[in-house]
Amino acid sequence: MEQILDVSALAAPEPLLRAVDVIKGLPQGDYLRFRHRMKPCRLYDVLKESGLEWETRQGEVVECELFIWHAGDRVAEEAARAAAAKLEPWQD
């Protein structure tokens, strides 16, 4: 199932804190669709250390979207990748 977190109207450090809070409670089978107005450089470290995987895409509603799931969670990964595939890859 998809969970959406839109932090595009929040200033640092709120987006990071909100993301961490949601990620902590992300159940198996679900993925997080994280929407931000910019690429969240600081979040990647947190994701790596929390055993999460992700894809970064050019957003439609906002500039940047991340699709985040637990490593090894096949159901969530498949759904996240399918949703991410509808968007353009992120370009630095």
């Binding site: 109207a9 200033a11 640092a12 450090p13 961490v20 450089c41 600081r42 250390e49 630095d92």
Partner: protein, 428 residues
């Protein structure tokens, strides 16, 4: 708010950038003090020993210190590769830079050959070592982030402008003032390459992050610094070999600078929350000053009023670069204090009290007052350059001095806040 420990694996220790950020306002205050003591320097022209010392106190002492600190902070986070031995590197670099700049500018002000040579002997190896270290770190990273490209250009520009300075000094037997034909290249690479490229790169991060604006458009992020690098190289080549076409490259550089300023103002207009924010105001002042600097530079191409060069210099260095960096410090320092505080508290098993938010770390009222002082100093300084009346210069320099000291005090409050809360949780 449920605070959670955030990863600091790529973040250098707080002392790494902070020692640079806290020292920088002292150099700015020294520049203002120098002008206060030698108020007639503004009426003598650009090439007096006092003006050279004053300019380098701002460019090397304030802007340089902050920018070197910011690179050490931003680079590991952006590219995911930490700098080697961050604490040792920053301690050595900070000591060599602070002593080197102090000796160099004193040598300029007193036209002392010994101090100039001693300052250069400390400063040049420190900066060269820093450039090589950062390039080595960039080489180890596959990152193509636009800010990283801008940093690489800025460091290349620093190498070029340092090389030109050394060559001119050696050629001239270390004599001042240095109204040498190559000095123009030194100023161009310093202003647009080192200061300009780095501020452009940093703005790709801090403007969307803290001012709640959209990202800079992909085309701008991808092409602006590349074009800037290309045109700077063409400009240098034409200045050395075909001076008759230099104006073409200069107009192209002015166009690129204008593009950045207008793009930033446009992004600020698109911000998603319209809350009063002092960093936003500093950046608006910075971009307005940058546009005016281009206008006065253009006027200088047609009108032969010698003060126009000085007006452009004040607008660029104090109005644009200093304002932007001053505003940025009011976000970066509280953010870093908050980030490290949050992690220290969480790693100690939590704490029942509340961690101060960013607006409490440096009080907003104090930053707003300093913004007003800075704006007033800038306006008066521009007026002082125009009317060339010594008492007006003194008032402007006095306001500038108070503003610089106030900035230093405000940043120090951020550091004290960090120490205060650590003591409360028994970690100080």
């Amino acid at each position: 708010m449920n605070y959670t420990a955030l990863s600091l694996s790529q973040t250098p220790p707080l002392s790494v950038p902070l020692r640079f950020f806290l020292t920088a306002p002292l150099f700015l205050a020294a520049a203002a003090l120098l002008l206060l003591i030698n108020a007639d320097a503004l009426t003598v022209g650009r090439w007096s020993p006092t003006m050279l010392a004053l300019t380098h106190l701002v460019t090397l002492g304030f802007l340089g210190m902050v920018m070197v600190g910011a690179i050490q902070q931003l680079l590991p986070v952006l590219i995911g590769v930490p700098l080697t031995y961050p604490r040792l590197t920053s301690t050595l670099l900070h000591l060599l830079m602070a002593a080197g700049i102090l000796l160099l500018v004193t040598g300029m002000a007193l036209t002392s050959l010994f101090l100039l040579q001693l300052g250069s002997a400390l400063l040049l190896p420190a900066l060269l070592g820093f450039i090589l270290l950062v390039w080595y770190t960039l080489w180890r990273s596959p990152s193509t982030h636009a800010t990283v490209g801008a940093m690489a250009l800025a460091l290349f520009a620093l190498l070029v402008l340092g090389g030109i300075a050394l060559w001119v000094m050696l050629q001239g037997g270390w004599h001042l003032p240095l109204a040498h034909p190559l000095t123009r290249l030194h100023i161009g690479w310093g202003g647009l390459g080192w200061i300009g490229a780095l501020l452009i790169g940093v703005s790709y991060q801090v403007v969307p992050m803290f001012q709640i604006t959209p990202e800079y458009p992909l085309r701008v992020r991808r092409w602006l610094t590349l074009l800037l690098a290309g045109v700077l190289l063409l400009w240098s080549a034409s200045a050395l070999f075909i001076p008759s076409v230099t104006w073409l490259a200069e107009f192209a550089l002015a166009g690129l600078v204008l593009l950045f300023a207008v793009q930033t103002l446009w992004l600020q207009q698109q911000r998603k929350r319209r809350l009063a924010d002092v960093t936003f105001d500093f950046w608006r002042l910075a971009m307005g000053s940058l546009i005016l600097a281009v206008v006065t530079w253009l006027l200088g191409q047609w009108f032969n009023w010698p003060q126009l060069g000085l007006v452009t210099g004040v607008l660029f260095l104090l109005g644009f670069a200093t304002s932007a960096i001053n505003g940025m410090l009011y976000k970066i320092v509280p953010f870093l204090v908050w980030l490290h505080l949050n992690n220290r508290v969480q790693s100690s098993g939590g704490w029942q009290g509340s961690i101060p938010n960013m607006k409490q770390i440096i009080p907003v009222v104090a930053t707003r007052r300093q913004y007003q002082l800075h704006s007033a100093a800038l306006l008066l300084l521009l007026l002082a350059v125009g009317v060339e009346i010594v008492p007006v210069v003194r008032i402007a320099a006095g306001l500038w001095l108070i503003s610089a000291l106030y900035l230093g005090w405000n940043l120090l409050q951020g550091m004290r806040c960090y120490q205060h809360y650590l003591r409360q949780v028994g970690q100080g």
